[in-house]
């Protein structure tokens, strides 16, 4: 029981990070129908920006942790957004009218370019960040006789889960209630018609990339704080997992991305907890394959409707 609860907590934490990244995939897919393979690397860039800001803050002697966290979050979101915007502007917009595979290929190119850029400028070795937030709440006491373990919810996990819930709520409201969100939904359904009604579709798409990148930056900050080490390659696996999460939840669906992220996080953690750590990725992708056989449009995706 104790073991199960601990794994559940770990799984939800991991799932939150995946979910934040998955939103970027699903939104971009929804609005322009392409997979932004560079999104995982945008997440990685976000983590590096966060690390840089952290080290600068520590170097100039800022010690108030909440202040540091706030500044790191804001700066990382801001700069990563610029990266996300630039990627769209440079690699995708010029190919807007082109055949479907063209932006997919530039996306892979962007992904490689970003990885190599960070590798060249930051070095290939892992970058550690000294643990910043330690301690936690003990939920269940261990018992030596029954072999029960201590169940702990660390402060870091609380921060990750709360931040994710707050951001996702805010984000869902933004899409559902604001002008920008309405324009995004309109562009998603019929970009040409939206532009004939005076909506600047290019700008709306740019803002979608900016939002996705901002959320990826938050995920990057969380990843950095949670694991304490990053390198130029973290974007690849996290990106693939988040993409899997988006597909599992139903690509194009926001709640689907969140649910998918959570599902992938839980599957991975439970598999490593109860079976073997080596095969956790196999487990995650197998579940994806099985789900897609029975629910081809994912858990919450709308079935493809033939346009008449």
């Amino acid at each position: 029981m104790e073991y199960f609860v601990q794994q559940l907590i770990n799984g939800v934490t991991l799932g939150s990070i995946y979910g934040l990244i998955a939103i970027g995939y699903t939104m971009v897919y929804g609005i322009i129908g392409m997979i932004n393979f560079a999104h995982g690397d945008i997440f990685m860039v976000g983590a590096f920006i966060a690390l840089t800001v952290f080290l600068i803050m520590l170097a100039i002697g800022v010690t108030a942790l909440p202040l540091i966290l706030l500044i790191v979050l804001i700066v990382a979101m801001l700069f990563t957004s610029v990266w996300g915007w630039a990627v769209e502007r440079i690699a995708y917009r010029p190919l807007r009218g082109s055949f479907r595979l063209a932006p997919l290929i530039t996306a892979i190119g962007m992904s490689i370019a970003l990885q190599n850029f960070v590798q060249l400028t930051q070095g290939a070795r892992v970058k550690p960040l000294p643990p910043q937030i330690q301690g936690g709440v003990t939920l269940m006491q261990g018992d030596a006789e029954t072999g029960a373990i201590v169940v702990q919810l660390s402060y870091m996990q609380i921060i990750i889960i709360v931040t994710t819930v707050v951001l996702m709520t805010a984000f869902s409201l933004l899409i559902a209630k604001t002008e920008l969100g309405r324009a995004q939904r309109a562009c998603e359904q019929d970009p040409k018609m939206a532009s004939l009604l005076g909506v600047n579709v290019d700008r709306t798409i740019s803002l979608t990339f900016v939002m996705g990148a901002a959320l990826a930056a938050v995920a990057g900050v969380m990843f950095l704080l949670y694991y304490g080490v990053i390198d130029f390659y973290i974007g690849f696996l996290a990106g693939v997992k988040a993409f899997t999460a988006a597909v599992l939840g139903g690509i194009g669906s926001l709640p689907g991305a969140m649910l998918g992220g959570l599902a992938i996080g839980l599957i991975e953690t439970f598999w490593s907890g109860y079976f073997s750590v080596e095969y956790k990725d196999v487990a995650a992708f197998s579940i994806l394959a099985i789900t897609l056989i029975f629910l081809p449009s994912g858990l919450l995706g709308k079935p493809e409707v033939e346009k008449v």
Partner: protein
């Protein structure tokens, strides 16, 4: 205005639409590879008129619409939209030379639509359109469809969403105004009680009305309707006529419509332009066009010799030559029409 244009049918007197056009299409040509969908077409749309663009299937009517609304970039030609007092030829020539898409003066503004991206044609030049095959945002509610059409107003009022999130008073007022306008058009299209229904759930006739309501929410100076009466029953058709008369009468919006239903065309149009194989074959009042032998020939498919005979009798030899060229061009364009 209607009476005036009808009496202006005598050949000598200039037509109302030539004196004060809201839209001028000049030497418009649209080629798709070797196919000439629209060939050197020129016509005027009078301010405050209801103008009909008619012609047999594949005549290039929708292509003209697509060029006017920025869906296609025309191969050649100039499309001039005028706001306010009619701009002088001089001003238009100067604008054409500068390479700018539009210019403003105290008399109004002129826009060269072929130079503008489609969202600006709606936003700045204020041309709205509807489609032959309905293109509503099916997943959104009826009201939301109308709010998307007011996106620019709301976006500006909400300071790019930030004011909207904070719910500032300025934004609240703008939002209320937008909803009021939507409600106004819902009332006039009899859709008010369905405001919160997803647009895809509306019956066909209601979807057609909603498309017009949505176009009107962009506050257009020119409303382009692509077959608004297609698929409507007689009662709905007469309602449509009333709605268009109302839009023109109360809002002074000029209307340009493509229509196959000759009942609608003859009843409400001040001015009819007839296309066949991408060329203009007739241009005038409904009365004039109805009696034009080349129009009758195009619609009823009279033999070429008969056309020539009829035209020789009725019109100058020049138009007969055009008809011959048309016979050589072959059927075309249909299918390219709708993207």
């Amino acid at each position: 205005m209607a009476a005036e244009t009808l009496t202006a049918a005598e050949p000598a007197a200039p037509h109302g639409w030539d004196l004060d056009p809201v839209l001028t299409v000049e030497h418009l040509t649209m080629r798709f590879g070797g196919l000439v969908a629209v060939d050197d077409l020129s016509f005027n749309v009078g301010r405050g008129d209801i103008t009909a663009l008619i012609g047999p299937n594949g005549a290039g009517k929708t292509t003209v619409f697509n060029c006017v609304t920025g869906f296609y970039k025309p191969t050649e030609g100039r499309i001039i939209m005028r706001h306010g007092k009619s701009a002088s030829e001089d001003a238009i020539r100067r604008l054409t030379e500068t390479g700018e898409p539009w210019s403003e003066s105290e008399d109004g503004a002129i826009f060269l639509l072929e130079r503008m991206p489609d969202f600006r044609i709606c936003k700045d030049a204020r041309v709205a359109r509807t489609f032959q095959n309905i293109r509503l945002f099916g997943g959104m509610t009826v009201l939301e469809n109308l709010l998307v059409a007011q996106h620019n107003v709301l976006m500006a009022a909400s300071n790019f969403t930030i004011g909207g999130i904070l719910n500032l008073p300025g934004f609240r007022a703008a939002r209320q105004a937008a909803i009021d306008k939507a409600v106004y058009w819902l009332e006039h299209t009899r859709l008010l009680e369905r405001a919160d229904v997803p647009a895809a759930g509306l019956p066909y006739g209601a979807q057609r009305r909603l498309e017009i309501a949505r176009a009107m929410c962009t506050e257009p100076h020119l409303l382009c309707l692509d077959e608004p009466a297609a698929g409507l029953n007689p009662r709905e058709t007469s309602e449509l006529n009333e709605l268009l008369e109302y839009i023109r009468g109360e809002h002074g919006t000029s209307v340009l419509l493509i229509e196959h239903d000759m009942g609608v065309v003859m009843e409400i149009s001040d001015h009819v332009v007839v296309l066949d194989y991408g060329e203009k074959i007739s241009d005038g009042s409904a009365e004039h066009v109805r009696n034009d032998p080349s129009v009758i020939a195009a619609y009823l498919g009279v033999e070429d010799e008969e056309v020539e005979a009829a035209e020789a009798a009725a019109r100058a030899a020049a138009s007969a030559a055009a008809a011959k060229g048309r016979a050589e061009n072959g059927p075309a364009e249909n299918g390219k029409d709708t993207p």
